[in-house]
Point group: C2
Chain length 247, copies 2
């Protein structure tokens, strides 16, 4: 009986917060070793998900928040008439599901765009533990707040930027997030379709495609289908917030 037990243990270790390479990016950031152990006890379910799977659906009851270990997903709000608005793209270290705490029901669908692994964090356990560990409490609040701050940025984008600016902001944001996770900031795969990018940016897929082609023609990026290379990151940055700026 020793062998299977050890396998289980190795498996558990492999996916524990304390040994997870993301723990400085994820919810347990800044916790001590013993506090990490408490986190490990709280998170006992990890789910593997395939492209196309839903982490949760709009309307479903909130069971847990989900920390992304690997992979890539989108969250999208659906309008009754079928219109879809992508509210965000999420990658490892991100925490999703926080929109559901208010009502107990998920507001958006979370759809897997690239095979992923998520850690289920029961809300009740998180609340309990964050009453005991002030730095966990603080960090959870920071994460929710950062989501609000991100949303304000998206509102600025959707409310007052032209197509080129929106796309530039989008690429710079992806770049910065990949960099923060140790990946290249200038070369990456777009896991989503042009239509999903468009939905996120409040544009039609044709406009996204045209604008990308335009960036390519200007030598700002090199795009080949889903593979993207940023060639002139500073020019992209300049592009944002110029607008024609007649002030």
């Amino acid at each position: 009986m020793a062998t299977p037990l050890r396998i289980v243990e190795v498996d558990k270790l492999k996916t524990a917060c304390s040994t997870c390479s993301l723990h400085e990016l994820c919810l347990p950031a800044g916790l001590s070793a013993s506090e990490l152990k408490s986190m490990d006890r709280m998170i006992d379910i990890r789910r593997s998900l395939k492209r196309g799977d839903h982490v949760f659906r709009a309307g479903a009851a909130l069971h847990a928040l989900y920390a992304i270990r690997t992979g890539f997903m989108k969250s999208s709000v659906l309008h009754e008439d079928g219109r879809e608005q992508v509210a965000g793209f999420h990658m490892m270290g991100d925490l999703i599901g926080m929109d559901a705490i208010g009502t107990g029901q998920h507001l958006c669908d979370a759809v897997v765009l690239e095979d992923s692994e998520v850690c289920e964090i029961p809300l009740k356990s998180l609340e309990l533990l964050s009453r005991e560990i002030p730095s966990l409490q603080q960090h959870f609040h920071r994460i929710m707040s950062r989501e609000i701050a991100r949303d304000y940025g998206v509102m600025l984008l959707l409310g007052s930027m032209r197509a080129e600016e929106r796309l530039a902001v989008f690429l710079l944001n992806l770049s910065q997030r990949f960099a923060a996770r140790g990946y290249s900031s200038t070369e990456f795969h777009l896991r989503m379709t042009r239509e999903e990018i468009g939905s996120y940016l409040g544009l039609k897929l044709e406009t996204v495609s045209r604008t990308l082609s335009q960036f390519q023609a200007q030598g700002l990026v090199a795009v080949q289908n889903k593979h993207l290379r940023i060639l002139k990151i500073d020019s992209l940055r300049e592009l944002v917030g110029q607008h024609g700026c007649r002030i």
Copy 2:
């Protein structure tokens, strides 16, 4: 010396959570009498603000969150080139400043549109108290989550609705919030300018004005400058999510 002391006490009582008419709408919702007392101890600063005042400015360090007792305000994100995006309108019972918890710095300006009174809630005290009072902790999380959910709704609006729909959603949202506070759901004053409405909705002020005039011509509302009366609330509701709907 008795008289001035009593005046102070009356003044304190008047503004305590335990006697505040908003306590079922505001942060202390659902707390017991003794828990309300603890809230009272935490909130000892109330500020009176005049139209045009800032509750906080973008870039300023986070000192406290602010619960609105009376009045009306907007929060707006500024782009370096001067573009302003109104991220929300806030009224009594609302909690503002949560965007700053993540970085410790406010991301947006909170500007008073109608003389207001706010309660300062030091974040540290709130964290401390919510570790002791689980229902306060839960409710604080719900409030942050509702802000995220609201933001998703605004994204849907900005990303995929036409002008008429945006304005209809805006009016219905105001209507519903006034109703929740015991005011008329069909007749109210718009405290903001057409330009501020436009900024919030991702439209220009002329479009807001034109669309309001159109609603008036259709008999949906009666507008007279800032005074608005909703005449056919169901028609407004129908207008949202029709879009031409060829599905």
